[in-house]
């Protein structure tokens, strides 16, 4: 250091302008970080989808795309509906009370659906977003318990779900499969992505 004394007022102004520059730098970062957000185009996508389920036979499942996600429509057999009661004790959240993916009121029942036999759900595991595979056949099979009643198995981390998309205990997935907003346009026509509440 030289032996000249520090000019306090110069230093104050140096610090002040340095801080002003830093603030400006932070503000400059805003547009760049904001550009990471979903674009208007991405936000606009996701219109509701209409499905005809007249040809869906008992035990059959169709997958349709809504907002880029697979939505499953499963027409459950009487045996499958009966299995829902049997597995209740092994489920993490049998009555869908958790709030992470709130189940619409009209599906907050024993079947998690408007009509008991037709189950509509988003086929995306609440763990890390894989799409579980169908394991609708009851009985012992690889990666599943011997008293398996039929349901879904996530291939990524082994979470299992019953035929109402309810997650079993002690699995990595914390939540039941999401039930999307949906409504019946007629007996056999479903509208996925919109219900009476959102429409109103």
């Amino acid at each position: 250091m030289s032996d000249t004394t520090v000019d306090a007022s110069k230093r104050t102004w140096l610090i002040a302008s340095g801080c002003a520059g830093a603030v400006g730098g932070v503000f400059t970062a805003v547009p760049f970080v904001s550009s990471f957000q979903p674009s208007e185009k991405a936000k606009a996508a996701g219109a509701p989808v209409e499905v005809d389920i007249a040809s869906l036979k008992p035990g059959e499942k169709v997958t349709i795309e809504w907002r880029g996600k697979p939505v499953w429509i499963l027409r459950r057999t009487p045996e499958q509906l009966a299995s829902l009661k049997k597995v209740e004790g092994q489920l993490a959240d049998p009555h869908s009370e958790r709030k992470a993916f709130p189940t619409p009121d009209y599906a907050k029942n024993d079947y998690r659906s408007i009509k008991p036999e037709i189950w509509v759900g988003v086929g995306i595991c609440s763990h890390l977003g894989c799409s579980p595979s169908d394991r609708l056949q009851p009985g012992p099979q690889p990666s599943l318990p011997d008293d398996w009643q039929g349901g879904f198995l996530c291939p990524c981390h082994g979470s299992t779900f019953d035929v109402a998309g309810r997650v079993f205990k002690n699995k990595p997935a914390p939540d039941n499969l999401e039930v999307p907003p949906y409504m019946y346009l007629s007996d056999n026509r479903l509208l996925i992505g919109e219900d009476k509440n959102t429409k109103a």
Partner: protein
């Protein structure tokens, strides 16, 4: 301005040219001297010391092949998969460039894992090389990001669902998680927006960071000097020096280690080429079979697993179930119990421990196992950064540590390989149990290191490196 050096008019044309440059760009000459001809490295480097320079070679291979792939690849969800197939089938020699890049990715991790293992067994992270190690760990972390984002680009099923899973890891963070995941994807699902930005990160942003870190890693290494298999300092205050002040146990990097490393490069390229030409997919480990199916956002493949180099961490992620949380809570209680009963902390310190433990347990019970799984996965990498302060053994090198320490490192490697294997397999109850034990061992190895690393009978350290001329 530096002094202008005059050269004898009788000097050769080459010498004159060198002098001309030296007067105008002396930095080049001093760089060569500082890092090549005048950088003294210990003369007892062994096999393990090949992997640092090999990592640099693979970095160059990845950058060069990457530049050429970028000329043909299209980062658009509609055509990305087809453009990779176009490179493979229609671009002249495109298949070779692509296989060099895909094999290079795996080679990078093999070389880096071996390089890190070298550091672990010879204590290369210890004072004064802490920053060398920290820069290295950061390189590893950034390399993982680079590899992950590159893996999305072929837009196959594994690319898509792998990205879906990893991006969703961020959404497990309480409060900010879902928004953060949205910010990373740029859409509500992995989509074209995600592909496009990952492309940008993969080809320019992350490589720039990587190059900067590599420079920092090497500069810091050359400032403090290389460690060696004996862990004896060749440039320390008591190290013998010759009449020019050069370490007696050191040799100039160039020509000695350049020649040494060229031999390593030759052997490496033989193996590398053999894989590229005869087994570029390496049985589904280097290029997964499911990735030859175009991405389908409605269907996850029946068995998904990350590429092999991520599988040990993936196993640890899968190991954290709500059951496992009780085991972890037990560990926290044990640690707190020891801290309270055995340490000589003040009463206030102990009170803090009790409060912290209770808070930790409350959080562990209230937040989903999913979040803790993500934390464990990240922690498995982050814990490496702390090695310089975890290892309390009186000697650096494994050579002078008790025999059972070698066993510990052997077990650690075995455990790492078992975790890696389980990560490639579909989930199973037995696999889950083993990976849970493996996870506990992995963290126990590091977290208990301050205690176990000082136990046992250490061998006396030699004053100078052990070296027999060959």
């Amino acid at each position: 301005m530096a002094e202008f050096k005059e050269i004898s008019p009788n000097a050769t044309a080459t010498e004159k040219l060198v002098n001309w440059f030296d007067n105008r760009f002396p930095s080049a000459g001093s760089f060569y001297k500082d890092h090549m001809s005048g950088y003294y490295a210990p003369k007892n480097f062994n096999f393990w010391y090949f992997f640092g320079s090999l990592a640099l070679l693979v970095l160059v291979i990845q950058i060069v092949t990457g530049i050429f792939l970028t000329m043909h690849y299209k980062p658009d969800a509609a055509v990305a998969f087809a453009s990779v197939e176009y490179i493979m089938r229609d671009v002249p020699w495109g298949w070779l460039v692509r296989y060099m890049h895909s094999t290079g990715a795996s080679a990078f991790f093999i070389v880096v894992y071996l390089h890190m293992f070298k550091g672990l067994i010879y204590g290369s992270y210890r004072k004064p090389r802490e920053l060398v190690w920290i820069f290295g760990c950061t390189i590893f972390l950034v390399l993982m990001a680079e590899a992950f984002m590159g893996y999305l680009l072929p837009w196959g099923q594994m690319s898509y669902w792998g990205a879906q899973v990893i991006v969703n890891l961020f959404s497990a963070i309480p409060f900010i998680g879902p928004d953060l995941a949205l910010l990373i994807r740029g859409d509500y699902v992995v989509s074209d927006a995600t592909l496009n930005r990952f492309f940008s990160f993969h080809v320019i942003a992350v490589p720039l960071v990587l190059l900067g870190l590599v420079v920092a890693h090497i500069l810091a290494l050359h400032d403090v000097g290389s460690n060696n298999p004996d862990g004896v300092e060749i440039k320390g205050p008591n190290a013998p020096m010759d009449e020019n002040g050069k370490p007696v146990d050191g040799i100039p990097f160039h020509p000695y280690y350049t020649v040494h490393d060229i031999f390593g490069v030759a052997v490496f390229l033989m193996v590398f080429s053999a894989i590229i030409f005869f087994a570029p997919e390496l049985g589904g480990y280097f290029l997964e079979y499911n990735n030859f199916i175009p991405a389908d956002s409605l269907k996850t493949p029946a068995h998904i697993a990350p590429v092999w180099y991520f599988t040990p961490y993936y196993s640890m992620l899968r190991a954290i179930t709500s059951e496992m949380m009780y085991a972890l809570i037990a560990c926290v209680l044990l640690a707190a119990g020891f801290a309270i009963l055995k340490s000589r902390m003040s009463v206030i310190g102990k009170a803090v421990v009790v409060v912290a433990t209770l808070a930790a347990i409350a959080l562990m019970l209230s937040i989903d196992a999913k979040f803790w799984g993500v934390l464990v996965m990240g922690g498995a990498v982050i814990i490496l950064f702390f090695m310089p302060w975890l290892d309390k053994s009186p000697v650096k090198s494994i050579r002078y540590r008790p025999g059972w320490h070698k066993g510990m490192y052997g077990l650690f490697v075995l455990n790492f390989i078992v975790l890696a294997y389980l990560g490639t397999q579909p989930p199973s109850p037995v696999g889950e149990r083993i990976s849970q034990i493996g996870t506990l061992f992995y963290f126990g190895f590091f977290l208990l290191m301050p205690w176990w690393s000082r136990l046992g009978d250490f061998k006396p350290m030699p004053d100078r490196i052990t070296f027999a001329a060959h």
